[in-house]
Subunit: 217 residues, 2 copies
């Protein structure tokens, strides 16, 4: 039997109303940069958002459902270097292994886009960070190949998502629209992209955010 | 008694999830440009949206309420030339007086931003189109002066709103977020703007769109 085509999906991508997934000046004490106070509150108000980080607390409800199902049928993930950490340029021996502690929430092969080679880092819980230096197409190909037939989740950040959107490679896009304005930063959507052909298949607001899920037809 | 300061307000500004208020290639038969099919459906589903254009039909509800109150306490309006019509450059004798017929929905002094002078056009119902050639600050000053102490509504299009946002002149911003992607066109938000200082004071979804209203604090 033929298997369904593997998809590249974006889920729970936080975006401000002015279109930014992060502000300027990302730094250790403010991972999302300037003017982003409260940006992630909705996520930490959910039970699943806390669970993923090994924390307790949080509520159920629609926001929680989206977070809880955000890794359904995901066999590999891709993320940009800026989402992996704040360092830039050639890797150093600083011991940085991502923001997420010894057991990251990916639990699958995870491809970090970078211009600088680095050996893979196996983590607890099934995550291995691979450093993909050959561009977005190559990273996607490797992610599909390692996903055991499942889909690949594109985690972010904004620059990485924008590149994949520009290349027309994103099959599903779920935006968690946070009702705030950031002013300056990293845009999710390219200035100009191919006629998108996306249809909105889910559109609901909770008290905290608006969920918008698009599928390509 | 001191009167409340006059405000510059944006209401019911339609924006796609990728941040565009219009697509490319605005033209007579497609006023919002490419890839905007269905963009205005929510408006024509409201009773007030139809009434403003002298049409019948449409429903009540939250979308209708926003449209019905979109001219509350408005004494003058501002719009960009591209919103006034599709012609560019020096004005000709083509007889164009806007998209809205003899009785436009503004019912107040209305300032059209343009580089090209033209005599005012009085219309039925209280609208007079004035052609403002001295830039956005001057147009706003004239609009405030002619608004009889009331607020000024900035109608659009995207380029005009973006200019006023960049200049930090917008006091209230109500986005009617349409759950679609347009891909390319005119962005509402500048690439980079001053720290915004806006607070979201209303955030609701209807089946058709999401309303997000911001006030500057």
């Amino acid at each position: 039997m033929p298997t369904a085509r593997q998809k590249l999906v974006v889920r729970c991508l936080m975006m401000s109303v002015d279109g930014f997934a992060a502000g300027l000046h990302q730094r250790l004490e403010q991972p999302f940069g300037d003017n982003t106070e409260g940006f992630t509150d909705w996520m930490f108000a959910t039970r699943s958002g806390n669970e993923m980080l090994g924390l307790e607390g949080g509520e159920g409800g629609a926001d929680d459902d989206y977070v809880a199902h955000s890794f359904d049928n995901i066999g590999a993930t891709i993320l940009g270097r800026h989402m992996f950490g704040v360092s830039r340029g050639p890797w150093t021996d600083d011991g940085w292994k991502g923001w997420w502690g010894p057991n990251p929430p990916y639990h699958a092969p995870t491809f970090v886009l970078t211009h600088h080679p680095r050996d893979p880092i196996p983590m607890e819980g099934g995550t291995t960070f691979h450093f993909a230096t050959e561009g977005i197409d190559d990273a996607l190909e490797r992610a599909f190949a390692s996903a055991d037939g499942k889909d690949v989740r594109l985690m972010g950040g904004a620059t990485t998502v924008r590149q994949y959107l520009s290349a027309g490679l994103v099959d599903e896009l779920h935006i968690a629209l946070v009702p705030m304005l950031i002013g300056s930063g990293e845009r999710v959507f390219p200035e100009s992209s191919p006629p998108p052909g996306y249809v909105c298949v889910e559109h609901i607001s909770t008290p905290a955010i608006t969920h918008l899920r698009f599928e390509r037809r």
